[in-house]
Symmetry: C2
């Protein structure tokens, strides 16, 4: 295809970008699939803003078409260790992490994130939405499962002018949904993702340095270990 015809063929996609390892990889996958990535980050009243800072760094490094941040004050409704002052559990076993819904579960979070992404996609006339959910590491998050993604896809095409009029058939891509953390990291490295720019930790120190002990740090470190790679991130202490 000649360069001058490329714009006509551009495929815009809205990609939810939290600033974590999974969403950074998802941006890279969407780009590799030929999409013009419009990254969307949601400032939902997280207890710290290091994740959002990471989203900004990742967006800049990933040559996205645009990056928007929408603020929504989920702390107003409470109910999660990610927005409330509930303690984040540390040094849990992989079994404990995998089973049951974690206290870091934010009620209806992915429904809210996808709803906002859908509104933005309709404004951009983008049929494709990407979300970096994963059903493997945290089996306890109900809104990370394929059946949730399918139900949202169905809703999206009923809920919108574009979907109803048939001008767009919305598709929700969750490319990581069945991958292990090691698979995700391996694919991201292949695609050139710089994981030193991402943030995963639920309990960072004042400078944003990862704790190495919360569920997110443990899963991340285990993923790098299983991929036979070194996590480029700096941690507060040597990980267990």
């Amino acid at each position: 295809m000649a360069p001058e015809t490329r714009d006509i063929m551009s495929k815009p996609a809205v990609v939810l970008l939290s600033g974590g390892l999974d969403s950074a990889t998802t941006v890279a996958i969407a780009r590799a699939d030929g999409f013009d990535v419009h990254a969307l980050s949601i400032n939902y009243g997280q207890r710290h803003r290091f994740e959002l800072d990471a989203a900004i760094r990742v967006a800049q490094a990933s040559a996205v078409k645009s990056h928007r941040i929408i603020s929504v004050d989920l702390a107003a409704i409470g109910g999660s260790a990610l927005t409330d002052t509930i303690a984040v559990p540390l040094d849990r076993t992989n079994e404990a992490i995998r089973h049951g819904v974690p206290i870091t579960y934010v009620p209806a979070r992915n429904t809210i994130l996808l709803a906002l992404a859908l509104g933005y996609a309709e404004v951009l006339s983008a049929a494709d939405l990407f979300i970096g959910v994963n059903a493997i590491d945290y089996s306890g998050y109900p809104d990370c499962r394929p059946e949730f993604i399918d139900a949202f896809t169905r809703l999206a095409n009923l809920a919108t002018k574009a979907g109803t009029e048939g001008t767009i058939s919305f598709q929700i891509h969750a490319p990581l949904i069945e991958w292990s953390k090691a698979d995700i990291i391996r694919r991201g490295i292949e695609l050139g993702v710089d994981y030193s720019q991402t943030h995963s930790c639920y309990a960072p120190d004042q400078q944003g340095t990862a704790c190495g002990h919360c569920d997110a740090c443990l899963l991340r470190l285990k993923g790098f270990a299983e991929a036979g790679l070194q996590d480029p991130l700096k941690y507060q202490t040597t990980a267990p």
Copy 2:
């Protein structure tokens, strides 16, 4: 039932309250159905805040259990005459209002509102959500139709910890969905709704006085006329 057992039997419900005529009526219906009403208003970057002021007045007058306002910056994604600077059409015929998707359509608005209400309902352990959508007056809003409500109900029970674990079966109530505006007003008057406290206008003046000419004013005035009642609201000019 003895008064002292009532608290144990209390049924909490989250009711979306915009401050308009329909949502004020929906609050009254939920209360009449025996629910403890937790009103939820969304500040989504409306061009004016008269609607939100009306929501606060209606909540106070309706003896709700609680009223929360969540801010979400939908203006950041644009795409609607309600959040952008697109002109609001005036003095349209009823036919023109009914057909096609109006430019006041906010992309994915009701999906976003219900997603936030769902998160709040899960925090409150409330199985019931109420939304005052109506499929009659604006046939062009895709997210006001029964099939949208059904799809969201299905999603809600897949998307949440409570729904997945079976501790709650979420139900989305849209009691006005098949009613005419006159039906809504008649029922509201029966239930004691004070419509002078509501706000419907898309193009109010600086003091918040309704224009009497936008689609929302025209439908409201027509509804009162068909119900054989007088709208207690003050308008800038005599309505056409």
